[in-house]
Symmetry: C2
Subunit: 476 residues, 2 copies
């Protein structure tokens, strides 16, 4: 049977729509060398047809590639034959690659469908490289997008997953993503283009078929006829929102993070940003430390989030031997061993260090900066690591040191004392972490438990004349 590929009048409407989509999304440039992924299914035959229509105007060089999965016997051979014949008719160079996907799946311990996808992706990449091509064109359409979105939603996803499939990702372009399956079917019929089975209809693609036939089709039939278009539109919005949130969190990351040779420190100023930005920032930090690992989940983000209200030294375990640890100035993300070292270093401060009353006092892992000034009713800062004290109440020299026997602090206006150890117990600071917490002390009386609270006794009041400001800064 001879195809009527050349009747260019038919299907022009759809071609126009695709060309607009190509322009809007910058999918093609003049003179591009395009590899066409052709399964022989209807979508891919439409893709082939569309590209032969675009070829001249866009001065494209085309190369058809079919991946034979070595399953579905004669039927698969017929598909291959169909693609080969079509490319021949259209004078498009064509190559077929054969795999035994079932064997691959067994050997590499994956599902047959996953193995098939792997075979296709690797083949396309390989051929593109050898041929020095520019892009790989695939035949995904809006129904694929809608199905992917529903699949991701059921499995659990964020905005990225709701975003589904994109018109362009890396070298892959999907010019048919502006069309619904029914539009493609109409086009195939109008142009009398023969086609085989769609590759996603592989026998084991059980889940995908359930989503298509039961979930999505029910939505179209029973809820809204335009459900596919609506899902695709929502995907677009979710994708854009995700891109925007990524950009914003990268910006915040630049402002609020420090990269050290140990890991990444997020400064606590980030805690004031909205929850969703924090979640994106954590995600980004883990990506920076781990690369694009898939198994960082929202559960981990939520664990990190709990550190905000935890005491210094508290930590959560993350995948790949990472951990996040509450520090004086924020959260440290590091390999478990590295994070340990850092705290160890802080713990070196076994002997008291005398606090300079003006300027910095250096301690392992950071410094305390002092400043004295006359109080004129300014607003008292509510920062965790900048504190104001009533200078008039301070009678002796101040020390920076870990806790020791006999330490106490004043915990209310009535002047009641509380033993430091009791305070640690009440605030659930584990015994082994207590000696890692720094204190500002006047003999046995504690002015400030760093990262936690200051004594009521030294708080600024209406009678305060002079203020001592102490500020902790991490890093060297």
């Amino acid at each position: 049977m001879k195809l009527n590929w050349n009747e260019r009048g038919r299907g022009r409407h759809m071609i126009k729509k695709i060309e607009n989509y190509i322009r809007e999304n910058g999918l093609l440039e003049k003179g591009d060398k395009i590899l066409l992924g052709l399964s022989g299914g209807g979508d891919s035959m439409a893709l082939l047809s569309v590209f032969t229509e675009l070829k001249e105007e866009w001065e494209l060089e085309l190369h058809g590639v079919h991946v034979h999965h070595g399953i579905r016997g004669e039927e698969a051979d017929r598909d291959e034959e169909l693609v080969r014949k079509a490319c021949e008719d259209l004078q498009i160079p064509y190559t077929c690659y054969r795999y035994d996907v079932q064997k691959m799946a067994r050997e590499e311990k994956m599902g047959v469908e996953e193995a098939g996808r792997k075979a296709r992706n690797e083949t396309f990449e390989d051929v593109l490289k050898k041929w020095q091509g520019d892009k790989i064109a695939l035949a995904h359409h809006k129904n694929d997008l809608a199905e992917t979105m529903l699949h991701h939603l059921a499995r659990g996803t964020g905005l990225r997953g709701i975003g589904g499939i994109r018109p362009m990702s890396g070298k892959i372009i999907r010019p048919l993503l502006c069309l619904e399956k029914k539009e493609i079917e109409h086009y195939l019929k109008e142009k009398e283009i023969p086609y085989g089975l769609d590759s996603t209809n592989l026998s084991d693609s059980y889940t995908r078929n359930r989503i298509r036939h039961q979930v999505l089709n029910t939505m179209v039939r029973e809820v809204n006829q335009e459900a596919v278009a609506h899902l695709a539109e929502a995907a677009e919005i979710a994708w854009e929102a995700d891109e925007y949130l990524r950009a914003m969190s990268n910006m915040h990351l630049e402002i609020y993070s420090k990269k050290t040779d140990r890991g990444i420190v997020l400064e606590e100023e980030i805690f004031k940003e909205p929850h969703i930005i924090r979640m994106y920032v954590y995600q980004r930090v883990l990506e920076l430390l781990l690369g694009n690992k898939r198994d960082i989940s929202r559960v981990h983000m939520k664990q990190i989030e709990t550190l905000i209200k935890k005491n210094v030294g508290k930590k959560v375990s993350l995948p790949y031997e990472l951990e996040a640890r509450r520090t004086y100035g924020g959260i440290l993300f590091a390999r478990k061993t590295e994070a340990g070292k850092l705290l160890l270093e802080k713990a070196i401060l076994k002997e008291p260090v005398l606090l300079h009353m003006d300027g910095p006092t250096y301690i392992p892992g950071g410094k305390i900066i002092s400043r004295k000034f006359v109080y004129q009713g300014e607003e008292i800062p509510e920062k965790t690591y900048t504190k104001w004290f009533d200078y008039g109440k301070i009678k002796k020299k101040l020390c920076i040191r870990p806790g020791m026997e006999g330490d106490f602090l004043i915990v209310n206006r009535e002047g009641n004392k509380k033993k430091l150890n009791r305070y640690f117990v009440d605030h659930k600071v584990p015994r082994e972490d207590r000696n890692k917490i720094l204190l500002i002390a006047e003999e046995n009386e504690i002015l400030w438990v760093l990262g936690m609270r200051i004594s009521e006794k030294y708080k600024v009041t209406n009678e305060t004349k002079e203020i001592l400001e102490l500020r902790y800064e991490g890093g060297k």
Copy 2:
């Protein structure tokens, strides 16, 4: 049958979970007066039970309200009886309100389900007001949220709709939204609480039942057992993203918009913001002009978006007699009649106005500000309404005026002239709009077609010694 409401040991786990959720989301305050919406369905009976457990600790005052829809005959009466009896047992004040929902639906031309919802909402609001209560507690759970999300997705929605139902909206709180239906069923069984039909199972709630039984249940059964929890989590993320985008676009709106007595002007600086921010800003502008109208769709946003690349005077029609119009400085949103007036006013400039070479020249609807300075190789601004000209090329006095016979401009480096009328035709400026476009002219030679282009002849080059900067500003 006597209920064993008082066996407080049972179901404690679920109560704890709900209390955490209440705290996280600030749903209750001590001493709140809570109206309970009780259909008699399982969810609402669980709600009643949960609140009797919380009552003491939170010092709550409760009031049960049942709305009888006047349909489903005896069955509905049994539900009412069930709720009445339970409230009696628990010594909770109770009121039943009776409606003929079918009659309401006929009279107000709405679906029976919509009429039912209206009856319930109005009743709850009324009772709350009369009783001087604080909040209305409803029994929605995660499955309701997941169904709503899928329903919205099928009908077409943005992030807000993906966000679905919220734990708190206005006076309504939904403390069971942290639970799946199956958890509530387990609780009901454990506490042996009797219940009737869920109100959403009203006979005509066809679509909702299809979503529940065919779409959502298929996702759970065939794709992922935790699909309900996953959908609820995605809803949460989408909601947060939406809130963030709203906050960001409000910020941009404050920077880039001017409210006039005619409408709202969005300044063109907004065009540089990401697409999704622009869409949110348009939405917000329309909300400001129209209130929370439902039928502003994404289609309208996209129409507004096309104005960015259109010429001054181009407009798009919007619902409620609104229109958006491309102006010199951005986009004007106004009632159709008002927008018309503004352009008319610009068109008053029938006679040429001499341009001051230093400082502002006032014209109807705005001003042109001139500034001369020595060129020292600064970067030339690429703004639509700020232009630099080679002052040395200007030999005569400059005028601001609409086009006239004989006007021309230089359109390329070779110095080729183009008639102004030809230029307008090429750029598809409708004939009736041409006299509304302002020009800066040296006799018949045009330096600048405002909002469009400047002449090649006057462009700044390496030989330029002195620059004339002209800046157009709209408004009075």
